[in-house]
């Protein structure tokens, strides 16, 4: 695996992640396990890894409810986790 990395911003904090990783794995590797807040306030993280379960939803570049497992982390991406569903 090449060691190339890209910089993204998670909850206002800059982190460096593996180039080519999805947002989901980038966040998991950075120690983030709670991706979204469920309707009753529980922390939830990725389950299916393939876009079925919608548990890994985060805000990416101000766009809410994006499935982190279906997006590749790109340089400069801004990600917010734990955003309660309106």
């Amino acid at each position: 695996m090449s060691g190339k990395r890209v910089d993204i911003v998670v909850n206002g904090k800059a982190i460096s992640v593996l180039a080519g990783a999805t947002v989901a794995t980038a966040l998991l590797n950075a120690g983030e396990s709670g991706f979204r807040q469920s309707v009753s306030g529980e922390a939830r993280g990725p389950v299916c890894g393939m876009g079925i379960c919608y548990e890994c939803r985060v805000t990416i570049d101000d766009l809410p409810q994006q499935r982190a497992c279906l997006r590749v982390a790109e340089s400069g991406m801004r990600i917010e986790t734990g955003v309660p569903v309106a």
Partner: protein
């Protein structure tokens, strides 16, 4: 000028896994136009997903190269949320790709929508770091770091072996692989594989990759515990239970066909699988189905079904060779189904307080066994969240005996921008808000 988001073709294929790729090759090679829509990041589906920075398996590379040598159009990161038959008899598919509406008009449709994992609720299953088994594989392949992490796998079926092997190879401390099927059934199945020595060698090779880990048959998950993240799992063999500290729990119970689009078109389903004839045509004429939606069968069967569907959709005859490979693989899959049939225990793991619908946080105690799935929806919102019942629908079918409710477009959430930028027609599908 041709609008690249309003496409017209002879055959539209949903899904670029093995079945969709094989179908597209056959169609394009016959000189007909074909568009393949896929939600993933690149062709290959789940089973051929490449490891980050690595290559796809050789057979995948060969098929994808064959596809790329044709004029087939493949659209990635494109989620189909609606398909309908128009008055002209043609089909219109509507999809979203990063907020942009994509529509395809086609005279024939091939549904190669693959499978998802079956999740059954148990106390603690909603904790972060409790993932699927295929889910763990997908996350590993996209770069998840598991080195030194304590991992337990609890589930059922042949998928356990490759995932256990991958986790061990990635440096995880794999503590237990629990298979719910009883040892006698699994052994009988393995014995029946003598006709397929390649499969046996494959299984043995995978097993040798995690030899230091216990592979316990007749053992299943009972609960997971933790404080905001999973810390431990309790497994049982029905007599005794054991609690193991872990950082990652992979738990799922086999695979389920994705049939939403087929049901939306009115295709007949039998026991949760799309019913097809010898040409892979469904009960709706000009609609074909191939791969896992017609019954979980694995890569080889998906490829053969895809080829047959592709040939048939453009009016070519199916070589006897393909039909006989399909028949023999189907027989094997029936034995696999029997070997790994789920014990009833795994459908009764949830406690009153356990969440059963993860999108809407509906708990078991909120449901009444006398209801139908429709009543559960109306009274509690179970199955009405973003996953549209893909997780809880199958769980509630196992737990309550509720058959899946009717399906309506959009079959998955799509951004309003996608509806508004749909160029083929202006009518948003019923149910769009």
């Amino acid at each position: 000028m041709r609008d690249e988001n309003a496409l017209t073709c002879d055959v539209a294929i949903v899904g670029a896994g093995p079945a969709g790729i094989a179908a597209a090759c056959r169609i394009a090679e016959a000189g007909r136009s074909v568009v393949v829509l896929d939600e993933g990041l690149g062709p290959g589906g789940q089973v051929w997903r490449p490891k980050l920075g690595g290559l796809q398996p050789k057979v995948a590379r060969q098929w994808i190269a064959r596809l790329q040598a044709t004029r087939a159009v493949v659209r990635e990161s494109t989620s189909v949320y609606d398909v309908a038959r128009e008055a002209t008899g043609r089909f219109i598919l509507r999809a979203e790709s990063s907020g942009i509406g994509v529509s395809v008009s086609a005279s024939h449709v091939i549904l190669a929508t693959g499978a998802r994992e079956r999740f059954l609720p148990f106390p603690g299953w909603t904790l972060p770091n409790v993932v699927g088994i295929g889910g763990a594989q997908a996350l590993l392949k996209t770069g998840m770091d598991v080195a030194g992490r304590r991992v337990v796998i609890a589930g059922s079926g042949p998928l356990l072996l490759p995932v256990a092997a991958s986790l061990a190879a990635a440096g995880a401390k794999l503590l237990l692989v629990a298979e719910q099927a009883p040892a006698a059934r699994v052994r009988r199945f393995a014995t029946s594989l003598w006709r397929r020595p390649k499969t046996l060698v494959q299984a043995a090779t995978l097993r040798s990759a995690f030899l230091r880990t216990r592979y316990a048959m007749g053992t299943w998950v009972r609960s997971a515990g933790g404080d905001g993240v999973v810390r431990e799992v309790t497994v049982t063999n029905g007599q005794t239970s054991e609690t193991i500290a872990c950082d990652l729990l992979c738990a799922a119970f086999g695979l389920l066909p994705n049939t939403q689009l087929a049901r939306l078109l009115g295709c007949e389903t039998v026991d949760g699988t799309v019913h097809v004839g010898p040409t892979q045509e469904t009960s709706v004429s000009n609609v074909y189905c191939a791969g896992e939606p017609t019954g979980i069968g694995g890569v080889e069967l998906a490829l053969v079904e895809g080829e047959i569907a592709g040939l048939s959709a453009v009016g070519l005859s199916v070589p006897q060779r393909l039909a006989s490979i399909r028949a023999s693989l189907e027989r094997e899959m029936k034995m696999l189904d029997l070997a790994f049939a789920l014990r009833p225990d795994v459908s009764t793991l949830a406690h009153a307080n356990t969440i059963v619908c993860r999108c809407e946080d509906v708990r078991l105690r909120d449901l009444d066994a006398r209801w139908t799935s429709r009543q559960a929806k109306l009274y509690t919102r179970a199955g009405m969240g973003p996953c549209q019942g893909r997780i809880c629908g199958a769980a509630l079918e196992s737990m309550m005996g509720w058959s899946s409710d009717s399906v309506r477009p959009p079959v998955q959430p799509a951004r309003l921008d996608a509806f508004l930028s749909d160029d083929h027609t202006s009518s948003a599908p019923e149910g769009a808000r």
